[in-house]
């Protein structure tokens, strides 16, 4: 079921144990180019750990990850982001004492102003790049409805707004794939709908997503395909409708 020629991301037989706990036990996953792929499973199934493995925040004990045709499991987390795969966190993490705008600008890649020689020796170029990035960031903030907060501290945002900022910030990286860890958790229903609309919109513009989510409405409305994880292992994969009827999947959730 793995090994698709047009897979953007494919991970095979990832294994990671913490002491005695097999958090991820030979799990595989695949995200086709241009898709919105779902990842579901009961609490403690190892979904977040799988994200950590994919993004190199944790090293797998074994297994391989291929992104955009290149093996990436040896890369550092920041290198993976630079390659075009950005992850978000289950509990939104914003940089509290930076403004919302600064949070956005930080995510820009290949800025000459991130090298201190350039700051001193080529201030003109640094300022020019910064200005164009600021414009791009304003556009994104405008579209997610956070532009009125742009100059506020990110720490002053509500929980839902933080989730939005985290997704908007991931977009600033101009990635090929975004890994979303429970984007709808703790967000009010109106905002959930808004987030979903944005994800669909960005997906149409060519961005791929891998989404962990407990809210089945979100999964049903977004995903082309869903992977189910239980106790660290692949349980099933298919369309969302198929998964809702799959007895094994239902058992895994009910067994909780």
């Amino acid at each position: 079921m793995v090994d698709n020629a047009n897979a953007l991301l494919s991970a095979k037989n990832l294994y990671k144990s913490f002491g005695g706990i097999k958090a991820v036990d030979n799990a595989s996953i695949e995200v086709p180019q241009g898709s919105i792929t779902g990842l579901i499973g009961p609490n403690g199934a190892g979904k977040t750990t799988l994200f950590n493995l994919l993004s190199s925040f944790i090293r797998p004990d074994s297994g391989e990850v291929i992104f955009d045709g290149e093996p990436i499991q040896q890369l550092q987390p920041h290198q993976i982001a630079q390659q075009g795969m950005v992850r978000t966190f289950q509990v939104a993490r914003v940089l509290s004492r930076l403004s919302v705008m600064e949070n956005m600008l930080l995510a820009t890649q290949h800025q000459s102003g991130e090298n201190f020689w350039n700051v001193w020796l080529r201030p003109g170029q640094v300022i020019k790049e910064e200005r164009s990035q600021r414009e791009y960031a304003s556009e994104i903030l405008e579209s997610v409805g956070l532009s009125h907060m742009a100059q506020e501290y990110a720490g002053a945002l509500s929980g839902g707004q933080r989730k939005l900022l985290e997704i908007a910030r991931a977009l600033m990286v101009r990635p090929k794939l975004i890994l979303l860890d429970e984007p709808a958790a703790g967000v009010n229903p109106t905002l959930i709908n808004k987030i979903c609309e944005h994800i669909v919109q960005w997906n149409r513009e060519g961005l791929s997503f891998l989404v962990i989510e407990h809210n089945m409405d979100v999964i049903m409305s977004l995903c082309d395909r869903v992977w189910v994880l239980a106790e660290g292992r692949n349980l099933a994969s298919g369309t969302p409708a198929e998964m809702q009827k799959n007895t094994q999947v239902l058992e895994a959730y009910l067994g909780q």
Binding site: L95, T108, Y153
Partner: protein
């Protein structure tokens, strides 16, 4: 012999002698020592401003806990003076700056080594390792006598501008440069103040300024009066030290209680009290600054072959100005934004494609480099360098300065350094005249008071003098 400052400054005589009379505590002849004293005060302030700026880059901006900052200063200082003492056929004017460059690069190298060995570990390891390294550096300096001459100290090394005898024109040029730097500083202060005042009605501004001026003025007079009385009591010697100490403590606690109560009464009725405080503090710093400036200016104007310290003051102020400017550019750039992101949450920085490890190394190295330059200036100011000059207490001073001004704020660090040295100098005279303690105990007592003041600051304004209050209340 007993010249007054007025004699030296000619035209401003009455003002100066009047001010001189305000300081009845000097056992030294006021006139001859004041200028030299001010010059060395400026040098120390500049050195510790630089030293604090290095720590602020590492801790204030990047969140790296460095409890051994003095190690960078020691390495920078020792390498500079030992290297410059070598016999080389190069004019000192080129050789000394080169030695400073090498010395500060060695300090940066120390930052690199500390970083490589710890940055990958948890944060608290860095704190522990830096303490260890700073003590190690000091012990190496103490024991490797073939290199550092150990406890005998290094002396007789060349000093910058040694034997420099500028013409009148050069001196005027130096004065112009010095004045320019000070003027730029005040210009920035004015811009900041204007921002504050904007949108505040004239009447409210006048009211709050007068209230603050009255508050601070009366507080100053009360403290001054207490000091005068205590001094008379100490001189009369018919009060036991215990009673005198008790009197001082009682007076101090009474004054603090009274003025806390007064502040609680007035602040709710003065909505713009903070603007008033800003205005009054700016005026105050302008007055004090100008008063100090005239001594410095006079020293530069009368620069001669023998006034080594004046040259050092000139260099120190220029170096601080240039490095401060460079650091301000950096911390406001995308580079500085990455450092702040690491301070806030390094996992996020990683997830957004920033090489956190490399940026931490850069912060450690650059902060170390700046402290290394401070070390060179420090060595020149001391003229004899002993390992004991680099006790852990010096690191504590840097932390005091940074915390006082507000972490993550370079202007605050400059202010912190100025306040710290104003405290150091004024207490040396005033406390000695007033407090019934011998010299060694007095030294400890002064440090104790700093600790006490820091505690008060942490209660009243935990973000530091120039820190932003909002930043404290933000959730993660």
């Amino acid at each position: 012999m007993n010249r007054t400052v007025g004699d030296r400054l000619g035209n401003s005589e009455p003002a100066i002698t009047a001010i001189a009379k305000l300081f009845p505590f000097h056992n030294l002849p006021f006139a001859t020592c004041m200028e030299g004293y001010i010059v060395s005060l400026i040098i120390f302030t500049a050195i510790f401003a630089l030293f604090g700026l290095g720590l602020n880059l590492q801790w204030g901006y990047t969140g790296l806990i460095n409890f051994g900052h003095v190690a960078f200063m020691a390495v920078g200082g020792y390498v500079t003076v030992l290297l410059s003492d070598l016999d080389v056929p190069i004019p000192l004017l080129i050789w000394i700056p080169f030695c400073v460059l090498v010395g500060s690069l060695f300090a940066a190298l120390l930052g690199l080594l500390i970083g490589l060995s710890t940055v990958r570990l948890r944060e608290d390891y860095l704190a522990i390792v830096t303490i260890g390294v700073s003590e190690m550096v000091r012990l190496v300096a103490l024991n490797e006598e073939w290199l550092t001459r150990g406890a005998f100290g290094v002396q007789g090394f060349p000093l910058p501008l040694q034997g420099f005898a500028p013409t009148l024109l050069t001196r005027i040029g130096m004065l112009a440069i010095f004045t320019g730097v000070i003027a730029i500083g005040y210009w920035q202060l004015w811009k900041w103040l204007r921002q504050r005042i904007k949108g505040v009605s004239r009447q409210s501004l006048i009211n709050s300024s007068l209230a603050v001026a009255g508050y601070l003025g009366s507080l100053g007079l009360l403290l001054y009066g207490t000091v005068i009385i205590a001094r008379q009591l100490k001189l009369a010697e018919d009060l036991s030290p215990w009673l005198l100490g008790l009197f001082l403590l009682g007076a101090l606690v009474g004054i603090i209680a009274l003025y806390t109560w007064l502040a609680q009464q007035t602040i709710p009725r003065l909505p713009d009290w903070f603007v008033g405080l800003s205005l009054v503090s700016c005026l105050l710093s302008l007055a004090v600054g100008l008063w100090i400036y005239q001594f410095a200016a006079h020293a530069i104007y009368t620069y001669s072959r023998t006034s080594i310290k004046t040259g050092l003051m000139f260099i120190s102020v220029l170096v601080v100005a240039v490095i401060f400017w460079g650091l301000q550019k950096l911390v406001r750039s995308p580079w500085g934004r990455v450092l702040k992101a690491i301070r806030e949450d390094e996992e996020v920085a990683k997830a957004l494609g920033k090489n956190v490890f490399w940026y931490k190394l850069q912060a450690l190295m650059l902060g170390g480099l700046v402290a290394g330059v401070a070390g060179a200036l420090y060595a020149w100011q001391l003229t004899t360098v002993y390992p004991d000059n680099f006790q852990p207490l010096v690191t504590f001073n840097a932390w005091t300065i940074v915390v006082l001004g507000g972490a993550g704020n370079n202007v605050g660090t400059l202010l912190g350094a100025a306040i710290f040295w104003a405290y150091q100098t004024s207490t040396r005279f005033i406390l000695a005249d007033v407090v019934p303690l011998d010299d060694a105990r007095l030294g400890a007592f002064r440090v104790m008071i700093i600790g006490l003041l820091l505690m008060v600051l942490m209660v009243w304004r935990p973000q530091g003098i120039l820190g932003k209050k909002e930043e404290l209340t933000l959730g993660r």
